[in-house]
């Protein structure tokens, strides 16, 4: 009973600022200006299939790269001495203290045709290459901005893996490969799942990264939604419909992922 009272502020917050807006999004998506029911906005979303596919595709790539980069790093981090861990964590968090926009903006100057990378390449007689305004640049922006969100959950799970469990596996005759495959990876899976969720979801709905690094020609769902609310095509109903479809897609993807996780680790 006591815990329930303590949770009350958040429950109120959740219902007022999460559940109600969600219902409003759903309501907007299926009504017209005059408030009558329609599915035409949802049907209109169909014409943006390629934008959806591109967004999902780029986000999947970015999430995969994040996972590949973050996993060994998080493991290494969790095996370090405690005070070194603190320092390393701070270094990882450091870019996040800087404004998100500024970090992406810095990449614009780095990747530009007259940017630093092309300048350095020019010194050794290469290039200039077209780096900015490509989908590769968008993925790079996603990886750079969301990598810490992958490292942190992985690290916090791996930190809790008891060293003696690994030692026991080795004592019982496991070679390093099977220690990794049969002990470390299964034990770190919850971290992998939450890491993937925390990277994939913001990636798929981002709009500023694709605008700044994609040069406006790599339209993502986020851009499309932004255009419906603040952009040139003011159409909140279509925007709500796109958001609703996006939510459904994320939900499906997360449900599929849940099938892999241990039964007591269901995310949704």
């Amino acid at each position: 009973m006591k815990t329930r009272i303590m949770a009350a502020p958040y429950l109120v917050w959740m219902s007022v600022f999460i559940v109600v807006p969600l219902l409003m999004v759903a309501y907007f998506a299926v009504t017209t200006d005059k408030g009558t029911f329609t599915v035409s906005y949802l049907a209109d979303v169909g014409q943006y299939t390629n934008i959806f596919v591109r967004s999902i595709w780029l986000s999947v790539i970015a999430t995969a790269i994040c996972l590949v980069l973050a996993y060994p790093l998080a493991f290494m981090l969790s095996r370090m001495k405690k005070h070194h861990q603190g320092t390393m964590l701070m270094i990882i968090m450091l870019p996040m203290w800087m404004n998100f926009l500024l970090r992406t903006y810095a990449w614009m100057t780095l990747l530009g045709n007259n940017g630093i990378i092309n300048y350095l390449l020019g010194l050794v007689g290469l290039g200039p290459y077209k780096l900015i305004n490509t989908s590769g640049a968008v993925v790079l922006g996603m990886v750079y901005n969301y990598l810490p969100f992958m490292i942190l959950p992985l690290y916090s799970v791996m930190e809790k893996i008891d060293r003696s469990v690994i030692e026991a596996a080795s004592d019982l005759g496991s070679d390093p490969r099977s220690v990794l495959l049969r002990v470390i990876i299964p034990l770190s899976l919850p971290g992998v799942y939450s890491g993937i969720t925390m990277v994939f979801v913001p990636c798929i709905s981002t709009f500023i990264i694709s605008r700044m690094l994609g040069g406006g020609s790599n339209l993502l769902i986020g851009d499309l939604i932004e255009m419906q609310f603040l952009g040139n095509s003011y159409n909140p109903h279509l925007g709500a419909a796109i958001s609703l479809v996006l939510m459904a897609i994320v939900l499906v993807i997360m449900t599929v992922m849940n099938q892999f996780s241990p039964d007591d680790q269901v995310l949704i």
């Binding site: 390629n50 934008i51 614009m108 003011y234």
Partner: protein, 426 residues
Amino acid sequence: MRGTRRFALSLLCGALMINCCGCASSKKSRTVKAGYDKDDPQTVTVEDKDYYTRFKGQNKSINVYNWGEYVADGSEEGMLDTNKEFEELTGIKINYTNFATNEELYAKLKGGAASYDVIIPSDYMISRLIKEGLLRKVDMQNIPNSKYIMDSFKGLEYDPEDEYSVAYTWGTVGIIYNKDLVGIEEEDIDWDILWNEDYKDQILMFDNPRDAFAIAELILGYSINTEDPDELRAAAAKLTEQKPLVQGYVMDEIFDKMGGGEALLAPYYAGDALMIMDDNEDLTFAVPKSGTNLFVDAMCIPSSSREPELAEMYINFMCEPDVAYANIDYIKYSTPHSAAYEMLDDEVKNSKISYPDDKFIKEKTTVFTNLTPEAAKQMQDLWTEMKSAEDKNSNRWFVPLFLIICFAIIIVVLIRRHIKAKRDIF
């Protein structure tokens, strides 16, 4: 859109220089030049002081919603701080907020969440707001200073009877380009240069459909206000044809991209082009000879205004010759205010960029009007289609690959479940 976020960008520039050790060294920090003398600070003389002081001491306030950096704000020594001056003169408090695009303004007004007393939208947005009943009629009797507005900025198509708006600034759209590297004189520039293969990846383009379509329509010889579905489709095809040559679709990013020499050619608004040219001396600006879009931003009062009388007073104040001059001198756009124009330096008055000759304006420029909802929607759809069109090669692979991956995942899931279920039996 126009003249916005200048401050934010220069702030970013500054921060970047610290952050990545001079990686932004190719950019000069942007300073806004104001033509004021330290010893001669601006003073405002108003014609009828009683008109302004009648609400003094009543603790009133008005909400003004304007483009970013669109009034003189006293940010440099000797410059007039328009809003502060108004507050001191009238005792009315101003709540001043900014918007970045006409559409943002529209969304705010339409949403009805906020109440504004004075707004400064552009031509086509004004006619849209009028049509939807979101503006209230302005009583010109209460704005005696509207007499200063030049005749050529009265009775324009968006507000034919001058009932809703008082013009504030105007300008043209042209091409800003690097004259040395492009090697074409200003007089010879035309829109088709933006379709020239020689400048592949050196061209920037508007990131909003209205302006981008206007350029394609000018090349094709259509009206920039066309609502004909076939003409719109042809314009979209023209833009799709240009897409492989375009380095990026940008709005405010143009300040840095052109200023830093990232691209050679870009269409933009005259006032902002002047700012960019301050940064990068290699650049010049030309209004294409075949014609262009003339835009007008005008002061209006929304129908939801709670203090229309005070709003009219503010508009009148903005039309005081001294105030109008201070504003225009700072924001660098062109003025429709006859007295402010006379006060400008000869150099500015004769500038072809800010004040093209009357004959050109009359014959070759067109003001945007509001499109019908159908035409606007079609334009928007075509624009999204154009922007999301991939290079043919990669597009073919996206969908199948994605589907295969989805199927693979589902099959793996099913197999796993099957194995698990079997295991549970034993």
